[in-house]
Symmetry: none
Subunit: 406 residues, 2 copies
């Protein structure tokens, strides 16, 4: 029996309430430039401090040592799905990020507008990074002219600058396919091919992409500079076991940004709309009786990290900290506070550094730490572990597991 099946066999349905608060990109590294303090260490966090005293801490490896995850793998890990086993195509992630509500069986591709010469050779893969408004205009054109190919519905959605996504909604379609992208200038757009020659759904999908090009290219042939487009990451939604069945927890997602709502929906979480962290916590209170597991996502720590803005990241942490008393009006049985990965200010992007995690429950025990910090997490009782086990520790703290063996 594999380990997930073993966990399932031991899982009991309880009335416990579990809350996961994700400060996106929370983890950071201490550097000389910042007086050897991370934003979490420099922040004033009275509410986190109060929790820390009666909590366990540790560090989590989002995927594997040294691997920097995107938001998809970062969150799948937090939801208990091994990100190496459950890989989500980039087309799907892009579509989720643009707020497309995907249906089972949808195949998604991320696409770029590009410049082609008279012979169809790609001369600029990003069409000079056209403005977002231009992209939106072109997408509107394509959407108006190419609504269906055969029985398959085509949904096109504009992104930032030259980027857009195409969703193919029909029967018997499957990915993944090879890319319709030469990956450099000076070559024609290659024909897409099934990754698996014997997969009928992929073959059908490859033919569909060819037909889509035939229908769509003429629509923008006279535009400048974006008279063509490339498609990559063509794949369907992965088959992911539903969260509720896997963990015997009815899950709700309280996120502001589309990407995270989309990732939560991939595993079957119910989406609850909110605009601020205060609203998210208020809605948790309101929905307390309707769900067992609440995923609460907070974006601004990651944004500040990406911008390399130490003070903004510190203030984002303080802002969330100040809202915590709202949540604690109805204290859940288990609270985990962490990031989906690190986004260190000095890196200005996602990184591989294990993120700190705080786990609080009546059974978490105390690591006798006065604060929740990276340095404290290093000496916490949880040690360093893979993110995918967080949900298992949360379940254990909720007394959701039967004893293993006699």
């Amino acid at each position: 029996m594999n380990l997930d099946a073993q966990y399932s066999e031991l899982t009991l349905k309880t009335k416990a309430k579990l809350v996961l608060i994700v400060l996106d990109g929370l983890g950071d590294i201490a550097t000389k430039e910042q007086n050897y303090l991370t934003p979490l260490e420099a922040a004033t966090t009275p509410n986190l401090d109060k929790l820390a005293k009666d909590s366990a801490q540790g560090r989590m490896i989002p995927v594997a040592p040294g691997i920097t995850p995107g938001s998809g793998p970062g969150h799948l890990g937090l939801f208990g799905y091994d990100p190496l086993e459950f890989q989500v195509g980039r087309g799907v992630i892009e579509a989720l990020g643009l707020g497309v509500e995907l249906k089972p069986g949808d195949v998604c591709a991320r696409a770029n507008f590009a410049t082609l010469d008279a012979k169809g050779i790609v001369t600029d893969r990003r069409a000079g990074r056209i403005a977002t408004e231009v992209c939106e205009k072109l997408v509107a054109l394509l959407s108006a002219k190419v609504k269906k190919i055969g029985e398959t519905e085509i949904i096109i959605k504009a992104g930032k600058e030259h980027r857009f996504v195409v969703i193919f909604r029909g029967k018997g379609l499957e990915g993944p396919l090879t890319d319709a992208d030469p990956n450099r200038e000076g070559f024609k757009i290659p024909e897409v091919k099934p990754r698996d020659e014997n997969n009928a759904g992929q073959k059908k999908m490859a033919a569909l992409i060819a037909d889509f090009y035939k229908a769509a290219l003429p629509v923008i042939a006279n535009e400048k500079p974006a008279n063509g487009f490339l498609m990559r990451g063509i794949a369907h939604q992965p088959h992911i076991p539903l969260f509720e069945e896997r963990y015997k927890l009815k899950p709700a997602c309280l996120a502001v940004y589309p990407m995270y709502k989309g990732l939560a929906q991939l595993v079957g979480m119910k989406k609850i709309e909110a605009q601020t962290i205060q609203q998210q916590f208020e809605l948790y209170l309101k929905e307390y009786d309707n769900f067992d597991y609440f995923f609460i996502h907070y974006k601004y720590t990651d944004k500040a990290g990406e911008d390399g803005d130490f003070v903004a990241k510190m203030k984002a942490i303080e802002y969330l900290d100040a809202a915590i008393p709202i949540l604690l009006r109805k204290k859940p049985d288990v609270i985990a506070i962490t990031g989906d990965h690190s986004t260190p200010v000095s890196v200005k992007g996602h990184s591989w550094h294990p993120q700190p995690v705080l786990l609080h429950s009546a059974y978490s025990g105390s690591d006798k730490l006065e604060r929740f910090t990276e340095t404290g997490a290093n000496i916490g009782s949880l040690g360093v572990f893979e993110s995918k086990y967080l949900i298992r520790l949360m379940q254990a703290n909720a007394k959701m597991f039967d004893k293993f063996g006699a």
Copy 2:
């Protein structure tokens, strides 16, 4: 090559003496109610303190993150056997706990006396939790009347209240089978079936169980309220590689309670009888030249934890600490001191929290810790690791491994 085979290939036979001291359920969690001290932290332990200074410490995960083990998986892990790979049926564990000396090929079932109505429907799965003396009387009755079925010897042993075990000792018998237990009242006792339809030993065993019911039920048919019985966890002893062959260490077990002697015998350890921890340490001295590995089991920490008795757990630790100088009269090359799992006072039962471990040898190095505690173990050089690797670290500290690669 799998990792165990690799370890075996590197293993050298040496003259080193290795000692494993298991304070059952040692691990605990710090809580506000106990001034943020665990029993191990609150205890006065001069002898452990002296060892700690020249030892390495760490935390061990008994099975997998969040999983609470029974004594069986807890100890198999300490003996170096992956508890997920080597699963011991509950019937076998019950039999070991009642002091039955199992032989290879024995199939064991744990059983309950139950109440049946005139139609054979289970009306009380525990026969009103009859007194242990009643159970013993019924078992004596059954034992007298049902000694053999065909060539198979039947051994029946009473447990506490309504519980007993049945051992089938014959040729070509195998488990596991489905349960002879409807798992709720209002149904008849179901027929047992092989878990694997194509397994001849299981088929034979299923027929034997049916015959056993035919022979045994009439014996107690007129008793009240226990006029029937249910059987569960019907399985044979797992095929476990012998400890001595696997590790090139001749092992002895110094335990007081039957369960732990039984578990040690499962892997081929020689049982040496003792009644107190002082006797156990004295017998280690006496048997020093006859064995290479000594498993010394101490039950009272777990008992106190199960009772939620902080002071009793603390005192149990102090009591063992006071006896350590006996052991050190002949200092072994490697000493490991740990639990088979945590039994936190505040949980009043086994738990999933990684237990602290202390490893002392001429090569363990010092973690510069003045005491052996959960909090110290968090920052020890061994980190957090799975229990099944403890024996490998003990072997390494005994210089029992050849270099891997050039």
